[in-house]
Symmetry: C2
Subunit: 130 residues, 2 copies
Amino acid sequence: MNIGEVSKMAGLPPKTIRYYEDIGLITPLRDTNGYRSFRDSDVHKLAFIGRARALGFTIEDCRNLLALWDDQDRASADVRAIAQEHLSQIESKIADLQAIRDTLSHLVRECAGDGRPDCPILDKLEKFPT
Amino acid sequence: MNIGEVSKMAGLPPKTIRYYEDIGLITPLRDTNGYRSFRDSDVHKLAFIGRARALGFTIEDCRNLLALWDDQDRASADVRAIAQEHLSQIESKIADLQAIRDTLSHLVRECAGDGRPDCPILDKLEKFPT
DNA sequence: CTTGACCTTCCATCTACTGGAAGGACCATG
DNA sequence: CATGGTCCTTCCAGTAGATGGAAGGTCAAG
């Protein structure tokens, strides 16, 4: 299978697939003409990576998850640890963003948003102790 | 004022301050020995940038906000537009992360997390239609 | 006079791609 | 057989926002 077809099947741009090969996530075969020749297992892996990335796992997470995926004897605890750690990070990021949103939406509500120069948003950025 | 002192006052690493000069956010003076010589207004700006960055504004946002900050005749609507746009982005990011968190926490709850190889997390990554 | 803390510049690295140029390969049509 | 269009290849550069480190100049204290 050539990269274009794989791209459609896995839902990833060709550039991204080549990049994943560069960093060693997949190792497709090569045809005599130099074209990459993807096996079903490559496509399967790429789809796996795509889903993991969509859930916000880093590339390194993906590498580890793929290794565990390949390992029939893996302990589910190992996978869970990665997912749990990632989940914690997401939760803390959500909390951070919520705090930011609260501050910002407060400021936006306070700002007249008209032609006058008075602006509580700039005031806050100027004076608020970090 | 030298960069070290400014660093402490503005709460930004020296590297970051030099970077902000590189990209033209600030333009400190220079002493005869080549050291950067920061005015109060530079420190003030840096603190402003630090706060805006902490609220997740991009560098380009910061550039625009600084320009508006310097402009005594600005309309508060201009500032509000930037903040409002940023707020929308944050809200959409929060929504994305919450969806991811829900999926992930569901998976983590389902996973036994013991020594057995069965793992619903990998199953999902393998089979779930993106 | 030396030590150590500062300061300088420059170059490389990080994440996860993405864009584009230059050129080879393949297939259908005239 | 030439031509055009679409695919494929590699390589280089750039994105955001810093950060790390090397090599070297400066300054103040003891």
